[in-house]
Symmetry: C3
Subunit: 135 residues, 3 copies
């Protein structure tokens, strides 16, 4: 039993954007050599998040971003002076970590599931930690 | 130290429905023989989720489902043609995985806590993975 | 490889309040002697949660609490008679567990990240479990 820690850099291009990181995480799992275990993913930021959602139709991600902006408007009488309170709130609603099982050396995801880095206050250079745990 | 992976089938009966899966997960933990560790639960779908909430008064779950439909309406100008964007959004808000400690061979839950499978786009036959990790 | 389980008591003072528990969790990690691994945190309540967010400007936390009360109002035609349905809903939106990597004997958090206990139905005496896993 063992674990290895990797760092992934993610360059976002827009204020609000979901970036599919599934293939990068898959590559890390392959590189680790772990066949059975868990991949745990953590992002080091407070105005971004991580989520798992549909990868087939890109309008799903567009709808999520659109609706999130309705639920948590960019401007809504916030006191924090940096103007990014909505991004902090979305980060807490989505969370900054994920855990996905590894079976047969691959991520055990459903047919339609992809891993997304969720930028809520871009564009920025972001860091994601990926720990591959054999178990 | 070791881990075992189990699959749970969940049949949902309504469009939006929470199903208490605590006793099924407890049974898996007992079957695994693990006394100290963690049960990690993951569902393979993008229009469903998992959560921990109150098990005593069923109106709590009804209130959660009712309020979620106010916050993320079923129809709200979404672009995704399948008509289930609200379910995708709720899935990201709740998340598709849980981790619960095991102590003395049982789930270490609070008095009022149960594990719920959250159907947001049913009725459907759903799959939940449960990994029991000795640690 | 090993793990140790600790209990943290948190006294909340207001109905809605975020309490920074980072230093308490750091102290537990130090006490455990674990240098590389994961700290997994779980709260045993259904009207509270856990989150990671900014620790520098206290208005961020105030904005999160303010906006959450707009998204999920304290009174909104709920059926649950105890009057705390909003707290249950917020608990499911935020979740009751966190996982943070440990590197070099310390929590691997970003510059601005702190761990918060989220009281949604206080004031109360609350319990948080912290498991430190060597891996």
């Amino acid at each position: 039993m063992s674990s290895k820690l990797f760092t992934l850099e993610v360059q976002t291009r827009q204020r609000s954007q979901f970036i599919d990181i599934t293939s990068e995480v898959e590559r890390i799992v392959t590189q680790s050599g772990v066949k059975e275990g868990t991949a745990r993913i953590f992002t080091l930021h407070t105005t971004a998040g991580l989520t798992i959602n549909e990868n087939a139709d890109p309008t799903v991600v567009e709808d999520i971003l659109m609706e999130l902006n309705k639920v948590v408007p960019l401007n809504d009488g916030y006191r924090h002076m940096e103007g990014n309170s909505a991004a902090h709130i979305k980060s807490s609603l989505f969370g900054v970590s994920l855990a996905v099982f590894i079976t047969g050396g691959r991520l055990a995801l459903g047919t339609w599931q992809s891993l997304y880095f969720c930028e809520f206050n871009g564009p920025r250079q972001r860091k994601v930690l990926v720990k591959v745990i054999e178990e």
